[in-house]
Amino acid sequence: MSGEQLTRRGFLKLTAMSAVAILAASCAQPTAAPAQPTTAPAQPTAAPAKPTDTPVPVAKYNEAPMLAELVKAGKLPPVEERLPKEPLVLPVVEEIGQYGGTWRRAHIGPADVPNSNVRLYRESLVHFSADGSSFEPNVFTKWEVSDEGKTFTFHMREGIKWSDGVPATADDLYFAYEDVYLNKEITPNVPGWLNFGGQPGVMEKIDDFTIRLKFVKPYALFLLILAGGILITPKHYLQLFHAKYADKAKLDADTKAAGLETWNQYFGAKNNTSDNPDLPSWHTWVTKSRNADQRHLMERNPYYWKVDPAGNQLPYIDYIAHDLVGGVDIVMTKCIAGEIDMQGRHLAFANIPLLKENEQKGGYRLIIWTSTTGVNWQVMFNMSYEADPVKAKYIREKKFRQAFSHAIDREDFSRIHFLGRAKPRQATVIDQSADFRPEFATRYVDYDIDKANKMLDELGLDKRDAEGYRIAPENNKTLELINYVSAGHAIYAELITEYVKKVGLKVVTKEEERSIHYNRMTANELELSMWGMDGAIYPSWLNYAYWIVPWVRGSVRIGPAIGQYRDTGGKEGMAPYGEVAKALELFDQALAEVDRDKQIALASQVLDIASENVWTCGICQTTDAPWVVKNNFRNVPETAINDTTFLTEKNTHPEQYFMRQ
């Protein structure tokens, strides 16, 4: 994909339709968002379906043969009764599809299934646009933001039905909010997204299809949160397992019978979309078999509320089957054996040559999508490390980190691990991000041993030991830092050790099983550590700032104790200091800023400080992510943005994928 094109396009979209733009626009125009999405989905290049081609609304609807049979047998009401008054009409990527087929995929363990599936079926209240920069109507057809960004009014699509045929209304949203998220037994701690500004937002039901949410502070990222897929709970089913509604004695007995101890555990087991086949949902496909089964099967939702321009009820594909395999390598061999219809998960950049060579054999085409990968690998300095004061002194020294960055041979790293196709880059958002400035990506990335040596000498590390490693003057011992990595990542760390050895820095790799590694992180024991940087795009990085600032405790390798300090309101952990504090302050301002331009400016400032301080030292970047797509598997865009938060593939609309018979 041409990055330039995307940038321009992304920019247009961003200015037109970001969360904040909608917010601003909605003050002037009551209907900021139309009932049908007027934007073509997911392809920055050729877009065959122009919005004007979309006939609205269709008089006669068609349905899948498997559903027509059920209707004939009297087991299902006719399609017109199943669809809402105004079904969402989805433009097609290539052509009107054919019904039928089982979409075969592979997963590597039970925990993998929900994360893989959710990106295929989930219908959030609002939908990310294809490039993630804006939001499209989905379950909510329109929304208004008022009160300087503190109050949100949402209008639900009327007539959406749960997969068991029961209508979905504002009551379901209210139940999710009041009885699940605000229930102390189910959710002991109020989630951060809901607790915005330190106090839970208040939900109010206006009518059957309208709700209003009020927060104490302007909430610039709320639509982003909604698009992430919250507040989806069928009340009529789940209330049977909720202590407030259900018969206590029966609930207790059922809990015991299931082998669980408390009703909230039982509720949790029932409220699990990908593991409880009985749980109704409004998603594209519904769960047919459980995670623990060898094959996890999902079946079309007969009440799905989207149609194609010809009035065919979506999805086209009948089933999605995830088969358990032994590991990521087997996912690839299955692709080559032609046993996978469409999948990108667990296929890595390094697999591209082999997958490409075997396209014909496997009967697939390899599609390269663009990941929101800021850098593929980075070395992170734990800014709250304090176990050894001498080490801590240098880890926290800006010049030390900059010198470290200059000592890394990025071209070599790219050649070894990315076929030479990754570009040297400092850790920051991707080029296409609205808050990106070129200098963020280029600071201290030159491979310059002399400069690095000079900078380290200037810091007082000018004495060397017998092996040529630098000695810390504070304790007259060799300065030795430990680079913690998760199992399997030592091959990356090994190179870093080699590079910095050339400037006399001793870095030892410690490779550990990943849960041990993770535990060390939350315990603030990391000195250096390595990871990749995904989700690096505005605005979603603001909600996923792990690599930029130590905003919370979990997953933050650049200062977990500082994150902890923020999480606990200053009771535990380490107070932010110096430029970390400055960056965090600006970051908090950005989170609260409802004006889009101002928010971007603030975000840029945070990125500026972060890249200048190199607490996350980026190595190189390639955004190419491979997807294997069978030749008869159509309507998959050739280009797309791949990101966890945007739920790729969902942002390319899997409901309109089809398999040519």
Binding site: P188, P191, G192, T262, D323, E513, Y518, W531, Y544
Partner: protein, 331 residues
């Protein structure tokens, strides 16, 4: 003999108790808990779990209670109701998960075991009776290759060769269309098409070991005076061989054959993982790595139970195969 068996069965109770305590403690030795591993696993694929959700789950799973409370509850449920607890990782009762995989585990292990013995015993006997013959060297060499190649590497190479040259995916036990099909003739045929790969890989090193040991032990026996005596008395060679020296030579296997019961569950786990076999071994490995403690604890408990039973069976067999052995051990 009966008295001996009764005593051993009684002894099993304290042994099992001790074993269960030790395994439960060891499972919890690594830092972190199930939730840490979940978050870490999610992080590797770029998926996110918020701290809020984490706190919620922690309380839900009872991970905030002390170890002995967790152990006590778990043990009590096993003893009183036969409930092995809840697997968080699979979101299912442990018993259900193990039961699901038991059939395939047992089939696979038995087939492997039969394969091993059927191949190894005759070859071992042949190698011993035809020491230093050409075939002896050939069998010896093949078994050494099997012995020296790590099983999972062999598995990967086989998988690649079959995909690259035969466009066949041999990983797993079933073709996609039979994965969740009910048992039928076609499904059995499909399984047989796949099962030879794990059987050969799993069986290779075992077979090699068995051939070597068999050859060695039999050679020991063949030159003993009693063989010469029997031969002198005109006993037919084949009959003589299988009736006496072979019987004595299998003694070392009998000593540990009981453990192959336990091996059914835990043997060759990494190969099973690579091949994606739906057996109990990978279940245990995942449970241990994910610190899914009731699942891990239960499988380990079952394995130790089988080990203890297996040892007993071995001891009884030992006495049966070799009547000179007096198990009571009183002199």
């Amino acid at each position: 003999m009966l008295k001996y068996i009764a005593r051993r069965v009684l002894l099993m109770i304290p042994t099992l108790f001790l074993v269960s305590v030790i395994s439960f403690v060891i499972i919890q030795l690594p830092p972190g808990d199930y939730l840490t591993s979940v978050v870490a696993a999610m992080a590797t694929t770029g998926d996110i779990m918020t701290q809020d959700r984490l706190d919620t789950l922690k309380a839900e799973y009872g991970l905030d209670q002390p170890v002995y409370v967790q152990y006590g509850k778990w043990m009590w449920n096993i003893v009183s109701r036969g409930h092995f607890g809840w697997s968080w990782h699979w979101n299912r009762p442990v018993t259900e998960m193990i039961a699901d995989r038991l059939a395939i585990t047992v089939i696979l292990s038995l087939v492997t075991m039969v394969f091993t013995w059927v191949v190894a015993l005759p070859i071992g006997v042949y190698s011993a009776t035809h020491q230093y013959s050409k075939l002896d060297y050939l069998f010896t060499s093949i078994s050494f290759v099997g012995l020296a190649t790590p099983g999972f590497l062999l598995a990967l190479v086989l998988i690649w060769i079959s995909v690259a040259y035969f466009s066949q995916n041999v990983a797993g036990l079933f073709s996609p269309e039979f994965v969740d099909a009910p048992w039928s003739m076609a499904r059995i045929v499909d399984m047989l098409k796949h099962i030879w790969v794990p059987v050969v890989i799993l069986g290779t090193s075992g077979t090699a070991g068995l051939i070597r040991t068999m050859r060695g032990n039999l050679l020991d026996e063949l030159h003993k005076p009693y063989v010469t005596t029997a031969r002198a008395k005109g006993l037919e060679e084949r009959r003589l061989l299988w009736k006496y020296p072979v019987r004595v030579a299998v003694n070392p296997f009998v000593s540990t054959i009981g453990w192959s019961l336990a091996g059914l569950f835990s043997g060759s786990t990494i190969v099973a993982v690579v091949l994606g076999l739906p057996t109990v071994g990978p279940l245990l490995l995942t449970a241990l790595l994910a610190q899914d403690m009731y699942m891990a604890g239960s499988i380990l408990f079952i394995i130790s139970f089988l080990t203890v039973i297996g040892t007993l069976i071995s001891d009884i067999l030992l006495a049966w195969v070799d009547p000179r052995i007096r198990l009571e051990g009183e002199r």
